[in-house]
Each structure stands twice: as structure tokens, then as C-alpha cells.
Symmetry: C2
Subunit: 173 residues, 2 copies
Amino acid sequence: MRSDATRNREAILRAVEELLAAGESVSLDRVAEAAGVGKGTVFRRFGSRTGLFQELLAERAERLAARIAAEDPALPARERLFGFLDELADLAGRNIALFAAHERACAEDKYADPTYLRWHTHVTALIAEARPDRDAGFLAHTVLASFDGELVRHLGVDRLKRSVRELAAALTA
Amino acid sequence: MRSDATRNREAILRAVEELLAAGESVSLDRVAEAAGVGKGTVFRRFGSRTGLFQELLAERAERLAARIAAEDPALPARERLFGFLDELADLAGRNIALFAAHERACAEDKYADPTYLRWHTHVTALIAEARPDRDAGFLAHTVLASFDGELVRHLGVDRLKRSVRELAAALTA
DNA sequence: CTTCAAACGGACTGTCGGTCCGCTTGATAG
DNA sequence: CTATCAAGCGGACCGACAGTCCGTTTGAAG
């Protein structure tokens, strides 16, 4: 990738963050303007609105990916699940607007988003390990649905954390 | 309401159903055209795209509302919950496209939709009755999230029913 | 310095939700 | 049956937005 391309990529992602943080509408025209690039550049780099939000989410979720990789496999699956969901709740709490925008942008076929897929695979594995008799794939979707942007906004992070833990406990009891 | 208004209201709702069933894009221009009315009429009657889908969902959910009203309060809350969710799964299965479109249209503040609200209130009450120690309001959102249009499409009604019952059982055990 | 693929930018397009306003019509009163 | 007029109608119009196109610029390799 050429150096100007790298620089612009970064500028665009930062511009989206700014607009999200400011609570303003995040149209791609505005993103391009705020980033000081042309609209074509946004599309060249990210392909579509969906791609843009997917990449931004992926970037913000790196810590979480690292955590998955670093998990101690000796720990019981339940504990690992609790830890993962706790960290995910933190991420959601810190990025409510991004979560909401991402959900909106990926509504069409949201189960194809790489980040969501990674989370789902992980949670499915943990539930399956704790309770092989249950439909782990389905329950993982259910658990992850708790992190819907609007819902997080409604509940607040504290209640979310408490309730998600309760949910996870019930599902792996 | 004037007789022509009633007739048009019906024509519009039926037109939406047709388009949904045909899997075509449901823009309000197309709805108006298919219904044989002007676009202004659609907005006069339903206020917005969101209102249109809310009303259509409300209409389709009437059976379910009747069921809630007719529930035998002597039955244990768990049983009533299972029964309600089973019927909701049927409704979702029969109206996948509508569920998806409704979610899309109501994404902004979906917790304000009257039909969703009614379901949520009901499920919350049932869970609270079965397990007063749990966060019933949160868990109700979780349970209802299982009926996301895309998810229903992915899983199919049979697996959905089975898994939702498993979920409800775990939450009220 | 030359070369050129990669990258750029912003005008342009098509679509869509929503508004506006002059025209039409169902219902009611006389 | 006719007059009246608010309720209703329709479709041209608007602004916003995602996505495309293409002539121009530029980083970097040789």
C-alpha cells in the first residue's frame, strides 16, 4: 500500500470515530469531508459503508482478539466465558455508537461480519464445552444479542455486565 | 374514517405483503404503485415507513395478542411462557420477511414499537413469576432477540422452536 | 529523471423517505 | 337531489445519501 493510501485510511477511520463521538450523522460525504479526502477514496479503501464499519469494529476489537488468543485453556470453560463476556461488555460500553452504527450497516446478513463470526465461534465453543447437550450455536447468538447497541444504551454497562453474567451462568449451569 | 380511506389502507397493507412475499425491495414508491394509490396517501395513513411496518406487524400479531389475553392464569408461568414462545415462533416463521423489514425500519429505537413492547412486558412478567431473583426485563430482551428475522431464516422454524424452548427452560429452571 | 500503476477527488447518478399543495370526493345537512 | 366542505388524494418535488466514473495527480521503482 502506498504511503498516502495508508495515511488516508487512518484519517478516514479517525474521522468516523470523531463523527460517532459527536453523535452526528455519519454519512460518507461527511466522513470524506472530515477526513480531508475525496469520497472516491473512502470507497476505494473500504468498498462500502458496511466495509468501513466492519473494519473500524475489527480495529477496536483487537484487544478482545488478543484476549481470546491468550486464554488459559486450563481454566474451566465457564470462567473463560465469563471473562470474555465481561471484556466484550466493556468494549460495547466504550463504543455504543459504533456498535449501533455497525449493526445498522451490517443488518443485511450480519452473520457474515468477520468480527461477529469470530466472537460467535468462540462463544459457541465455550458453551459447547460447558454444556455439550445444548444448542451452543443458537445460544451463542442469543448471548451476543445482548450487546446490541440500543440495548446497551438502555441498560448501561453495569446492569449489562451483571445480567449477561447471570445469563451465561444460567446457560452453562 | 372515510370509506375510500379504509379501502386504501387495506390496499396498501396488502401491497406490502405482496412485495414482501415476492422478495422484492419494498420502497414506498413501489408500495404506492402496487396499491394503486399516490405516495401521499401512504404517508397520510401511516406517517412513515416505520409506522407502516409497525401497523402491519400489529395486524399479523393479533392472534398472539388474543392468546395472551386468553391465557389460563392457573397454569405455571413456565408453561405459559413455553406456549407463548411457541406461537411466536410460528408467527416469525410465517413472516420472516416482515420481521426482518420491521426490524430494519424500527432499528432506531426499536424498543418503542408497541407490539414489541407488549411482547416484552408479557415475557418479563412470566420470567419474573418463574424466577423473581433474576433480571427478567433483560432476559426478556434476550429471549425476544431469538426471533430476529435473519436468525430465523438461518435456523429454520423447527430448530428455532426447539432451541428457544431450551433457552426458556434454562432461564426459568 | 522517467515512467506508470496506484491512488485521488469530486462531479454525477439513481434511489428513497418524506413534504407540499392544488384537485377530488364521500358524507352530511337542508 | 343539491350544495357544501373537510377529509382525502396523488404525484411532482426536495434533500440526503450510497455508490460510480473518469480525468488528474503522485509515490516510488528503476
